[in-house]
Symmetry: C2
Subunit: 109 residues, 2 copies
Amino acid sequence: MGKQMTEMLKGTLEGIVLAILAGDPAYGYEITTRLRSKGFPDIAEGTVYAILVRIEQKGLVTVEKRPSEKGPPRKVYSLNAQGEEYLNEFYQTWGFLSERLDQLREEGK
Amino acid sequence: MGKQMTEMLKGTLEGIVLAILAGDPAYGYEITTRLRSKGFPDIAEGTVYAILVRIEQKGLVTVEKRPSEKGPPRKVYSLNAQGEEYLNEFYQTWGFLSERLDQLREEGK
DNA sequence: TACCAGTACATAGTAGCGCTAAGTAGTGAA
DNA sequence: TTCACTACTTAGCGCTACTATGTACTGGTA
């Protein structure tokens, strides 16, 4: 993955995962494969699990353990009310940065 | 500054500084004040200087020392060809992420 | 004169985030 | 029994922005 992308994902990948969970609940392995199919082919598994641990500790998700037919039990994550609020803040922060950048880009022309 | 903003600036603040320089050359102190007046009131001076050192080492800018009437000599930074290319890559990466996020946001509704 | 605010640059130390790499564990197919 | 796939975990690393502090020059003012 490009170095710029790696650095830019800091602070945004967490939001992206939350956005995925906002669609519907999912478990780690599933999130990884979804990310990979949706334009982030190089996201490492470890990265996703680290984010899941973090957002659980922050209290943004609820976790439910469900058995799997194909391997170890899954930990299914659902966004809770606090998580939705956090996601909205994330979108706002992103929007703010987008505005500044668009403006700078215009000025630079 | 919000913690989300701090994390999101990782990987973008450097690009923002390059975008400012794309408008016209500037020196560190000036960049800091410009940032503060343009919606980033809490950017620390030290952060800006660290970025300037970095982009100089990466060869994205040329530096010229000019005397100041009001203090120590200024180091004026200008974006060079390599810097412009890097800035374009930055915009592309940003655009890619924007698309993914917009898409996720739509799906989440 | 002495002090302070403003200008201008520099840097050591810290925390957070994503990545690398390696491991554990369960299932089913070759 | 070996391998591939599923599924989760964790230690260590590099990079970035922030905090805090320091240096140095100018001009105003008490």
